[in-house]
Symmetry: C2
Subunit: 197 residues, 2 copies
DNA sequence: TGTACATCAGTGAACGCGCGTTCACTGATGTAC
DNA sequence: TGTACATCAGTGAACGCGCGTTCACTGATGTAC
């Protein structure tokens, strides 16, 4: 390990370097267990023990990575939605961006939604780090169909999108229709939005 | 390892015992990598090397388990569909059974649809062991909406169900609506079937 | 201005664990003579 | 009917690997005197 150490008082730099390394790992083809402490340290150019300088254990490291990933996903989806005025267009853009994030960042998406790393950490749903993402989806659906049914309708939009993303990845040999078409079909069927063409 | 050996000429019994052991393991709470060769051997009450008496390597073992699981899933869904005469009722029963299988057998379902164990074994879709399951879904959808759009419509029904199953498992803290309600909403929106109530 | 010292970032060495896989071996049993 | 032998089911011992984690240590640098 020949590595220039961070200057005194800048120990936090390694913390960030570790998180950056984790995100870099999540870009690569997915392994079963998406993150290992040793792999993160290796990617960061540091010895495994050094992780403990900043995280109590592996779980704490993963939790921190999860928060970063949720923030990235939310930012990407919001950015896409912002560029539209109409409620239906905003919802459509948000959903498309959600799916595209999942397909472009399979490692991050898998960590957020396909492991027990989140959602089973002794938290209720409302205090989980992903609750903000879902709240945003509910608001966008509500703007289209009114508030009566929005929460439930949004939950089925979410599951439908999640299925679209994850099956495309685990079954790459299947003759999938174009992503836009499938998302439009979902929004048309579940929210009554007619897709653009 | 104090185990009564199988009688001469009955070596195949161990092969089945190994597969049974694998299925038993898949009943348990899910670990990341759903099946390890050593865990299967342990569950079968046998030393790890004994697996090689019947399978070339771990991949061959997993492939055999996958085939069994697909057969079980298909049988469960077919049994549910058979008890109805109307095309819409049959589709609804089949889909509900699919989801219920996924929720009741999370280990098996994860092996089939959430790992690269299937679908990425150098096979095209049509020769993959799960193609028969999908073909059945297409036929049921076709009976409801005609043949023009059935393949694509079925693919979105499939992804929607997959999302329903997998998110319920990874996000148990979310306030999910009842399974029937969500499945009905999907079939109503995507196939035009009005759920029973 | 010089020096002793506390603080801090990071490493070396080691632990026990489960993993997939290889090779040599054991010991019971059906079969050929 | 008895016995030698080939076949077969299964194990013992060991390999190198990656994992998470612990404990003692190094060595540079800012700070107090």
């Amino acid at each position: 390990m020949t590595r220039v150490r961070n200057p005194r008082g800048h120990g936090q730099l390694l913390r960030d370097a570790l998180l950056d390394a984790a995100l870099r790992l999540l870009l690569k083809p997915i392994t079963e267990e998406p993150l290992s402490l040793r792999a993160v340290a290796r990617e960061a150019g540091v010895v495994p023990q050094s992780v403990y300088l900043h995280f109590a254990d592996k779980e704490a490291l993963v939790r921190a990575v999860v928060e970063r990933c949720f923030a990235e996903l939310l930012r990407a989806a919001e950015a896409a939605a912002e560029s539209h005025g109409d409620a239906a267009d905003r919802l459509r853009a948000w959903c498309l961006a959600y799916c595209q994030f999942g397909l472009a960042q399979p490692g991050q998406y898998a960590l957020l939604f396909e492991t027990r790393a989140t959602g089973q950490m002794g938290l209720t749903f409302s205090e989980s780090p992903g609750a903000a993402v879902y709240a945003r989806l509910v608001a966008l659906v509500e703007a289209c169909i009114g508030d009566g049914d929005a929460f439930d309708a949004a939950s089925t939009v979410w599951t439908a999108q999640h299925g679209i993303v994850t099956l495309r990845r685990t079954k790459p040999g299947f003759p999938w229709p174009p992503l836009e078409r499938q998302v439009d079909r979902v929004l048309n069927g579940l929210v009554g939005i007619s897709g653009e063409f």
